[in-house]
């Protein structure tokens, strides 16, 4: 069953700043629908009064990564798109994957070592023969 990797979304904005207008419109219009459509994500709306840091959308994932996206001077639809994108991501960091495959058990028959194809006299120690 699918488990959504996004734990919580924190919407930090100021109710008076000019660049948080999109954030305020998002909270008024689309935040409730977004929360209803994604029932396993907790949405926190925390307005801090007065001039403060820039409006930010903080996403926390199940593996502990915290991703912050600036929403200053963005429209409500763009913030909704951003939120859905973050909700569909997992918390793995976005870097180049070196190989598209990975195994914990690469060898089933035993990895090759210089003595695999040699006669077993070299490796096996038989019972010590008693001096007759």
């Amino acid at each position: 069953r699918y488990v959504r990797q996004l734990q919580r979304l924190q919407l930090l904005f100021s109710p008076t700043a000019a660049d948080a207008r999109g954030a305020r419109q998002f909270v008024e219009e689309a935040a409730q629908d977004f929360a209803r459509q994604h029932p396993d994500v907790v949405l926190y709306v925390s307005p801090h009064s007065g001039p403060g840091p820039a409006p930010v959308l903080r996403a926390e994932y199940l593996n502990g990564t915290v991703r912050e996206e600036l929403i200053a001077s963005r429209t409500s639809e763009e913030i909704l798109q951003l939120a859905t994108k973050l909700a569909n991501q997992s918390g793995l960091d976005i870097i180049r994957i070196r190989k598209p495959f990975h195994t914990d058990n690469p060898s089933v028959q035993g990895q090759w070592h210089p003595l695999t194809n040699k006669p077993s006299i070299l490796t096996v120690q038989g019972p010590r023969l008693q001096p007759q």
Binding site: P106, S107, V108, Q109, G110, Q111, W112, T116, N117
Partner: protein, 150 residues
């Protein structure tokens, strides 16, 4: 007083020179010498590094194929077969395994590789018999070609 335009003595300053320089220097941090600190030297080195990395993508394919061939040659010599004999007889027995997979098998599955070497050896013997023997039409088990109808 009404100000309709900025006074002519107000000139704009470049404020994000630091970040423009850091964008280049971040790719030069692991270089040797002054090219990892000084922007003027770093720009040239970073550009050459990027050009070399794009050109090397074509070389990487050749390099990896040569590496696989070396490994398969070493593994098949352990079982008494030379690389050209191994590869040609394997493809004549309709075993379409590429060199990457053969090299991985030789490292991680030595028994499977031994059986593949035995298969190639048997096919080689059948080829010799078919070419030289030509007496009593012996059955070549591994020389029969399986036709796939898709």
């Amino acid at each position: 007083m009404v100000v309709l335009s900025a006074a002519r003595w107000l000139r704009s300053r470049l404020t994000d020179r630091f970040w423009r320089v850091q964008e280049v220097l971040k790719y030069a941090r692991h270089f040797r010498g002054r090219k990892n600190r000084c922007y003027r030297l770093a720009v040239r080195s970073v550009r050459r590094a990027f050009v070399r990395s794009t050109k090397a993508r074509r070389e990487k394919k050749r390099f990896l194929r040569a590496l696989w061939i070396t490994r398969i040659e070493a593994a098949s010599l352990e079982h008494g077969l030379k690389y050209p004999a191994f590869i040609s007889n394997l493809s004549k027995s309709q075993v379409e395994l590429n060199r990457k997979v053969l090299a991985d098998l030789a490292i991680y599955e030595p028994k499977t590789f031994k059986s593949l070497a035995a298969l190639a050896q048997r096919r080689r013997q059948e080829g010799f018999l078919a070419a030289l023997g030509d007496g009593k039409e012996p059955e070549g088990i591994f020389s029969r070609i399986v036709h796939q109808h898709y």
